[in-house]
């Protein structure tokens, strides 16, 4: 089985977010980058499936050279080789275009990725890739077993879970608890040194130009209203918070 795992290189969840150059650029100083946590789950499941069924796992990242640290970690966890599309991932459509272009050159049985990246959180790349390749896509997949040419999955839906089956090839957006999150061991880190990492140039160009970044408004102070003053609470919700 040939599996392609698409990963994002994103700021750690604890990173302090700030902007520079008149709020037009993200301030990367002091920010630690990690593999997107949902992508990590996708990769872990891919490695487990490879252990069960044989085959190969290729990691794909659309990103600049600084992503290679995270790509090496993915190789240390158990991917066989990696491809980096050398460009800034400016928007979901552009990223999906790159993934579809790479994927169309090989016959992958599964294209896995996180349900969404944790920087822009669009959560649409898997759907776009599926459409571009003309194959089904599902998300968010929280359980995945392969039986012959069929994937048996559990997907999270509004208010519940859905069991679903589909024939390969497929594009899947993954989330926990699809696999146990893996920590690379020293042997894996050593072997990652020599695993191939191919760098290719992008096709097309990004359609999005970011004019300005802004942080969300800071949270206001909490007002405590005694239970017996429900009318005051309603008044504040209507006239101050304007949510009623």
């Amino acid at each position: 089985m040939k599996i392609l795992v698409c990963i994002t290189n994103v700021p750690d969840t604890t990173a302090k977010i700030s902007f520079i150059d008149g709020d037009t650029k993200f301030n990367k100083t002091g920010v630690q980058y990690i593999c997107g946590p949902y992508d990590d789950y996708a990769l872990s499941r891919a490695v487990e499936l490879k252990e069960q069924h044989g085959g190969t796992v290729t990691v794909l990242n659309v990103g600049e050279a600084e992503s290679e640290q995270v790509i090496r970690k993915c190789l240390a966890i158990g991917a066989d080789d990696a491809i980096r599309v050398n460009t800034e991932p400016t928007d979901s459509y552009f990223v999906a275009e790159q993934i579809a272009h790479i994927a169309s050159q090989e016959n992958y049985d599964l294209i896995l990725m996180g349900r969404e990246s944790i920087d822009f959180n669009s959560g649409v790349v898997h759907g776009l890739v599926g459409e571009m390749l003309g194959i089904p896509s599902l998300s968010p997949v929280m359980k995945l077993e392969i039986d012959g040419g069929v994937a048996k999955m559990t997907r999270e839906i509004e208010g519940g879970k859905e069991d679903v089956e589909a024939s390969l090839p497929l594009v899947l957006g993954c989330q926990e608890p699809i696999a146990e999150w893996k920590i690379p061991n020293m042997r894996g880190i050593m072997s990652a040194r020599t695993k191939p990492l191919k760098v290719v140039e992008p096709v097309g160009s990004g359609l999005t130009i970011t004019e300005k970044y802004a942080l969300p408004a800071p949270k206001g102070a909490v007002k405590m209203i005694p239970a017996e003053e429900a009318e005051k609470l309603i008044d504040l919700l209507k006239n101050e918070a304007k949510v009623l």
Partner: protein, 398 residues
């Protein structure tokens, strides 16, 4: 033994005030992060319970082996890591950040058991023992210290006699980490000519026993014992052929002490990280205690000492990589870093107030552990005298 799995989040972050991370390779950073993640996943949830129960979580030995925490600088050919000394140091830092007892277990396995077998052993011995030690299938221990010979190992009483087909081993060793659970022991004993020799003694050999030392207030999550040899017949092929004289065991100690210098730094970082977070959260007189000058003084001094210790470790690691680190340089690092870790743990204990004495925070555990670390592998004072001898050319302890 079952251990209680705490669900308290371990949000440890290491300070890097002088951007020492810039001196590390991407691979070093990945190694550090991976070991940190491993410790958060496997050690942090159970360590308080293990220490409170004074029970060694023996199941972790195999997990440490799978992770590659044993003998990381020994070549891959023997199932070990083939990594450099900075990588080894960072691993020990992260393991001791979790707990000194577990770092001691790993240090003994890597530096005091695998290292002598690799350095002084025959190729057959290397191939027989090293892969099993690297994977954690075997746990090893190191027998040098005796009840009456601690800082003065040259006076050891343990003896071997050449009986033609085998060596007859008699004597005892004391304060031996891993002893009660060990599958093999690297034991140092004098031959008929009074030369110190190294032997590999295996569990199950007749006359060999490993009674456990109980009631420790320190390194409670590791096991410590004695090695007793009562007419043990050790096969001749178990003698380490290239070890002759005190140089043999002392070479091992150089390697272990290097790991301790990094390990103690890890314990210091954990105390600082916990103290900083506690000081920012704990409100007294309507403001966080971090607002007060005396608290800031403590934190500033902790960070200063940690930063200096980081620089010592990094530079010593580079010297080790180049094969240039001397015993005296390693003594300086071990002595300084354990000393500052102990002082930081004490200050952090105070800063946590009453909470600092409970198992809710790691401080008291680190503090008690470090009382062993400051004593073993060359006491605080002996390292001072090693430096004194280096400066003056005059040994003050011979």
């Amino acid at each position: 033994m079952e251990f209680y799995q705490s669900n308290k989040v371990d949000d440890f972050e290491s300070p890097d005030f002088y951007q020492i991370d810039d001196l590390l390779t991407e691979e070093h950073l990945l190694i550090r992060q991976s070991v940190r993640d491993f410790i958060k996943k496997e050690v942090s949830p159970i360590i308080e319970d293990a220490a409170q129960k004074a029970a060694f979580p023996a199941y972790l030995v195999k997990k440490f082996g799978e992770m590659g925490l044993f003998g990381p600088t020994i070549p891959e050919k023997y199932g070990a890591g083939g990594l450099d000394y900075i990588a080894y140091g960072l691993m020990m830092q992260e393991v001791e950040r979790g707990d000194s007892g577990l770092r001691s277990m790993a240090s003994v396995q890597g530096s005091l058991v695998m290292y002598p077998i690799y350095e002084y052993g025959s190729e057959e011995q290397r191939l027989k023992y090293l892969p099993k030690l690297a994977s954690g299938e075997y746990l090893g221990c190191f027998g040098l210290t005796e009840p009456d010979f601690g800082s003065n190992p040259a006076g050891m009483k343990t003896r071997i006699e050449d009986k033609g087909d085998y060596y007859l081993l008699n004597g005892s060793k004391m304060w031996i980490s891993n002893a009660p659970m060990a599958d093999i022991a690297v034991v140092w004993a004098k031959n008929e000519q009074g030369r110190i020799k190294g032997l590999i003694v295996e569990r199950g050999m007749e006359g060999f026993s490993t009674p456990e030392i109980h009631q420790k207030w320190s390194l409670r999550a590791s096991c410590t014992g004695e090695l007793v040899f009562d007419n043990v017949k050790v096969p001749k092929e178990n003698l380490l052929p290239s070890a002759d004289g005190l140089r043999g065991p002392l070479g091992c100690l150089d390697s272990a002490r290097y790991g301790i210098a990094w390990g103690a730094l890890g314990a210091a970082m954990d105390c600082y990280d916990s103290a900083k977070k506690y000081a920012l959260e704990r409100i007294q007189f309507d403001k966080p205690i971090a607002s007060f000058q005396l608290v800031q003084k403590k934190l500033a001094e902790m960070l200063t000492e940690i930063t200096k210790a980081q620089l010592i470790c990094w530079r010593l690691g580079m010297l080790k990589n180049a094969g240039k680190a001397t015993t005296a340089q390693i003594s300086l690092a071990k002595r300084n870093n354990v000393d500052i870790a102990l002082k930081i743990a004490r200050e952090a204990r105070q800063l946590h107030g009453g909470m600092g004495i409970t198992g809710e925070y790691p401080i008291m555990r680190h503090l008690m552990n470090l009382e062993s670390v400051v004593t073993y592998e060359g006491t605080h004072d002996i390292h001072l005298l090693i430096l004194g001898a280096e400066i003056t050319g005059i040994s003050a302890f011979k």
